[in-house]
């Protein structure tokens, strides 16, 4: 940085500074890529050991316990279980790199195809949930920060604490009880009413979009009736997180001197809050929302089970029930990768939008 102060004296220095900046950026980037690679590798090791830990004998699962010891021996070799651990691990990794996660016992199809088929349903649910969570969480968080230690603040904090403490699966069941059984406002389980199932061929995989594309409005309304409740159940959880973070970010900004300056200048309360304070927390908020989206994947496992939602979470749990470790490991790995990807995304967004992090 010492170079920068000499810049006016030496014309040449300017390009040097740029070169230096580029170099630090490049080393930053390579460190970043390195840490991602190491984390991904660790993820593979961890999943491999989870798969090895299981008490079920993978050979018996294939040949059955009636098989002769010769058959057993043959399958044992075929699976590579006689090889040393590192060879097995190498096989495991090279299979995954080729996109081969094995065959699911439940469907008899490759696990990767199954996951590709069920994933859009989860993304659809998750996206609507995050819209609800952000749409409610951000304004409530701002409100709580502005009215700090007054009743709006207490109310928002209390409800977000309740949302934190509620078991998601139970909340879903209560929702079904009230809005499906008693009030009839929700369509109940699944993505659409049974009557409409399979009527719309998947184009994007998002039923709400597909039904509009082919003009099946009945299907669209049915899908909407079915999705709002699980989306709200999932969304309230991320709302709690988002409003809590928004509140603390806003409070930090509102205590800064430039806010006082803005007030002294005679700006209205609205201008101070939205034009000045809020503008400065947008970057932080984007990263928080990205992380909350990852958290939704977690909640989706329970919510999809409750609502018989034919998505990724439901697929994972039904495979857990029958102990199909191929499918379970693929799902676990996928979620881990998605989590890392979301973390990287939020990191990149931070770097792109917040100039202060660039030089460091």
């Amino acid at each position: 940085m010492g170079r920068r102060t000499r810049r006016p004296a030496k014309c040449r220095g300017s390009s040097n500074v740029h070169a230096n900046q580029l170099r630090t950026q490049l080393t930053d980037a390579s460190k970043f890529v390195g840490s991602v690679v190491v984390t991904l590798f660790g993820l593979l090791v961890l999943t491999f050991f989870i798969g090895r830990m299981m008490p079920v004998d993978p050979v018996l699962a294939i040949v059955g316990d009636e098989a002769s010891s010769a058959t057993y021996e043959r399958v044992y070799r075929q699976l590579g279980l006689d090889q040393p651990l590192y060879v097995q691990f190498f096989r495991f990794v090279s299979d995954i790199l080729r996109g081969d996660f094995g065959v699911a016992l439940l469907t008899g199809r490759p696990v990767i195809e199954d996951i590709a088929r069920v994933f859009p349903a989860t993304i659809e649910l998750g996206t609507i949930s995050i819209i609800i969570g952000t749409g409610l969480g951000v304004p409530l968080g701002v409100l709580a920060a502005v009215r700090r230690n007054k009743w709006p603040d207490y109310t928002v904090r209390f409800f977000s604490l309740i949302a934190y403490s509620t078991p998601t699966f139970w909340f879903g069941l209560m929702g079904l009880l009230v809005f499906y059984a008693f009030l009839g406002w929700s369509g109940g389980s699944g993505r659409v009413e049974i009557f409409y199932t399979g009527l719309v061929e998947p184009i994007t995989g998002f039923l709400l979009v597909d039904s509009i594309l082919v003009g099946e409005w009945d299907v669209f309304w049915s899908a909407l009736r079915n999705i709002w409740l699980p989306a709200v159940v999932l969304g309230l959880n991320s709302m709690a997180y988002i409003s809590r973070m928004t509140r603390s970010f806003m409070m930090e900004q509102l205590s800064q001197e430039y806010i006082i300056t803005a007030r002294v200048k005679g700006l209205s309360q609205n201008q101070v809050i939205w034009r000045h304070a809020f503008r400065n927390i947008r970057v932080q908020l984007v990263t928080i929302v990205a992380l909350a989206y990852g958290g939704l994947l977690e909640g989706a496992v329970l919510v999809e089970t409750v609502f018989s939602w034919p998505g990724f979470g439901g697929y994972l749990t039904s495979n857990l029930m029958i102990g199909d470790m191929n499918a379970v490991m693929a799902c676990t790995l996928l979620v881990g990768v998605l989590f890392i990807a979301l973390n990287i995304l939020s990191d990149i967004l931070y770097r792109v939008f917040d100039p202060r992090t660039r030089s460091a």
Partner: protein, 305 residues
């Protein structure tokens, strides 16, 4: 305390500005922390609920009105009333008694996870923070890998691999819960490492082990306690989630998550079968969150809101 109380009242002893002994300093700190804590009604409410649950767990046979596993098919799916305060389930078992006995399982899981996670997290975090260099890099990389899974999904995978059961659920949850403690302990250690009193201890020839144990550990403990308490709510919810999915406690154990799951089929006609155990989870998780927040304000004021 007796030698002092003869010359001054207890109130003076606790609030005097001139502290004469270590013991008085400790007593004053405890006193003021307690006052601050009691001034937070929500935190007190949380503590009361937690204590009530611990008492319910200890004295379950005396508090429960029925045998938690006694089936009575002639009284299946009875609504809440005088005979069965919270109703009965599909096998005619008393839900109130099952919830009371279920508190034993919840406490068992929460305590066991905390007892496993706190030392592991502390050792990993303090070692990483104190030694730095490649020790830090390796340990934190491992921590990051565990943190890169959402905890429920990792716990699910572990529980599936280990097989269902309470003990395996405890192991699975512990494996997902230690990294956040390690991160915290590392951060605390880093702020201390460069300070003068650590340097003084090093110069006077104290071993790394002694410095970690005598000087760094006491500083890490309060914030770790706060984090563990706040984690307890999450542990409870994860355990209930595992139970709900059939990977935690197995029937007929009266585990709250498993009870909720079993009641699903009868939910439409008998709302109480699902509502009551879930309510128990909610109230206790809320209590841990409120208590943890209050504890943080007292023990770890830096992180307060």
């Amino acid at each position: 305390m007796s030698e002092n109380s003869s010359s001054m009242s207890l109130r003076e002893y606790l609030s005097s500005d001139t502290v004469t002994s270590m013991r008085q300093a400790t007593a004053q700190r405890v006193y003021w922390s307690l006052r601050a804590f009691l001034g937070n009604p929500l935190a007190v409410f949380g503590l009361v609920v937690i204590l009530a649950m611990i008492l319910a767990a200890i004295f379950a046979p005396w508090i429960a009105t029925h045998d938690p596993n006694a089936q009575n098919l002639s009284r299946a799916l009875q609504p809440p009333g005088e005979e069965n305060w919270l109703g009965t389930d599909e096998l005619g078992r008393d839900i109130f008694s099952r919830i009371v006995y279920g508190s034993r399982i919840s406490i068992y899981i929460v305590i066991l996870v905390s007892v496993i996670v706190a030392p592991v997290g502390l050792v990993v975090g303090m070692a990483a923070g104190y030694f730095g260099g490649w020790v830090d890099r390796v340990l934190m990389r491992v921590t990051d890998i565990f943190l890169s899974f959402p905890s429920l999904i990792l716990a699910l995978a572990f529980a599936a691999a280990l097989g269902p059961g309470i003990e395996n659920a405890v192991i699975a949850i512990s494996l997902t819960a230690w990294p956040s403690i390690a991160r915290l302990a590392r951060a605390e250690t880093l702020t201390m490492r460069a300070s003068d009193f650590i340097a003084a201890a090093q110069v006077s020839g104290a071993s790394a082990l002694r410095i970690l144990r005598r000087h760094i550990l006491p500083i890490c403990v309060p914030s770790v306690i706060v984090r563990i308490t706040l984690n307890m709510a999450g542990v409870l919810l994860t355990a209930a989630g595992l139970g709900f999915l059939g990977l935690g406690a197995q029937p007929p154990t009266p585990e709250w998550g498993a009870m909720t799951s079993a009641g699903r089929r009868f939910m439409i006609d008998s709302w109480w079968v699902v509502t009551m155990p879930g309510m128990a989870i909610l109230v206790v998780a809320l209590a841990f969150n409120l208590f943890g927040d209050g504890l943080r304000d007292v023990l770890d004021p830096r992180q307060s809101r």
